[in-house]
């Protein structure tokens, strides 16, 4: 599923391709689950959020219109709405692990940080495998440049230049997405 665009995968989901749903799960489940842990506060409800979101993607994929928004934006909205539903159901004021108030029922993602995270996840998924690997090892596994060099059997100097190239590619992909969707609005 490497480098197959989200929008292609969601069309396959609409036709009943479970493998395509698995591909989207690989790209976004960690963020949806992390969002649940952060905003809903417990593992059980976070797992429920993940199940609700991907079930919704499966059921509603045929209605997804790539001309109106990216898949990242679409799945972000589903996540936000389902999280709001779960909060409303609990009828309790929910706080983040840091004690900061969460978005309340009916309230949007006020800072836009959550929406932005989905956009970055989409951009990351479109990098080449080599670029994505070096960034995932650094940011999601917390490895130093030397540790990445050892893990991937790649010269340290190459890891450093590859990390620079990967960040540059990510920035360019994010800019392309921003221009693409703002031009369509």
């Amino acid at each position: 599923m490497d480098r197959v665009e989200d929008e292609v995968l969601v069309r396959r989901v609409a036709s009943g391709d479970e493998r395509a749903l698995s591909g989207l799960y690989d790209r976004y489940a960690g963020l949806v689950y992390g969002t649940g842990m952060r905003y809903l506060g417990d593992r059980g409800t976070a797992e429920e959020l993940v199940q609700d979101v991907f079930t919704s993607v499966w059921k509603n994929a045929a209605g997804f219109d790539p001309a109106r928004a990216s898949f990242a934006t679409w799945v972000y909205r589903i996540t936000r709405n389902r999280a709001t539903d779960l909060i409303r159901r609990r009828k309790a004021r929910v706080r983040t692990v840091d004690g900061e108030p969460l978005f309340e029922p009916g309230e949007t993602d006020p800072s836009g940080a959550l929406s932005q995270n989905f956009d970055v996840a989409a951009a990351l998924s479109r990098l080449t495998p080599v670029h994505r690997e070096v960034l995932v090892l650094a940011y999601f596994h917390g490895l130093s440049q030397r540790e990445i060099s050892d893990r991937t059997a790649t010269p340290l100097g190459t890891v450093k230049s590859r990390t620079t190239a990967a960040l540059r590619a990510l920035r360019e992909t994010m800019r392309f997405d921003e221009d693409r969707w703002s031009a369509d609005e």
């Binding site: 609409a14 960690g30 499966w58 450093k160």
Partner: protein, 221 residues
């Protein structure tokens, strides 16, 4: 300026705070006198901050959660996976020889088509592929010409292709005329592949060959 390229390659780990102290000093000295590298560092820092935010907000879900999600989704009749279809198509043909083609669009219902271009293996070959239909299954028609006649235990195979991934759409043989006109049943989502291709295959080798004969990009009709 001779140090410029080397320093530029360090800007990524620099904005991440992952350089050795001596390297960090070298970069900072360079940045004081290089406007373009300062701008580059600013751009990379933005990507770094966005990625750090994403990593902070991401948490690995329990390993069995994906299986639970998949178990919960309602099944659709059209949700059969391609290998089942591929196996059925291959069995129906009982072929000796196959071609390979690559199709490329994302279409459902309306249909798609591709013009096939030859490779060096069959420079006079050509062909067309079309996918039509409105139901859960569609008809994929392949018309090709100029292909070498199949020898014993040889056949051609038609592929749906996307990046390094390819899925068989069926197989066929070609006689002395070098022409073929076959119709295959394919699922609706076959049209989501961007390319089609035809390869030459051998009956006794279960692996897909790299002997590309024709290829083309699918376009929505």
């Amino acid at each position: 300026m001779s140090e410029h390229p080397d320093t530029r390659n360090l800007l990524g780990p620099y904005v991440m705070g992952n350089l050795e102290p001596y390297e960090e000093r070298e970069v900072e000295v360079h940045l004081q006198g290089c406007v373009s590298c300062r701008q580059e560092a600013q751009e990379l820092r933005l990507a770094h901050e966005r990625l750090a935010d994403l990593a902070y907000s991401t948490e690995a879900p329990p390993e069995d959660l994906e299986a639970r999600v998949m178990a919960r989704i309602p099944r659709r009749e059209a949700g059969r996976r391609l290998p089942i279809w591929v196996a059925a198509a291959a069995a129906a043909f009982c072929v000796l020889a196959v071609l390979g083609v690559f199709v490329t669009p994302d279409l459902f219902g309306a249909g798609a088509a591709a013009t096939l271009s030859p490779t060096g293996r069959a420079p006079d070959a050509g062909g067309q592929v079309s996918i039509r239909g409105t139901g859960e299954n569609m008809e994929m028609r392949l018309e090709a010409w100029g292909l070498p006649a199949c020898k014993s235990e040889q056949y051609y195979e038609l592929w749906l292709v996307e990046g390094d991934e390819r899925v068989s759409a069926g197989s066929f043989t070609v006689g002395q005329s070098g022409r073929v006109d076959v119709r295959l049943n394919v699922p609706r989502f076959a049209g989501s592949y961007p390319k089609v291709g035809v390869t030459a295959e051998y009956d006794k080798d279960p692996r897909a060959s790299d002997a590309k004969m024709l290829s083309g990009e699918l376009h929505e009709l």
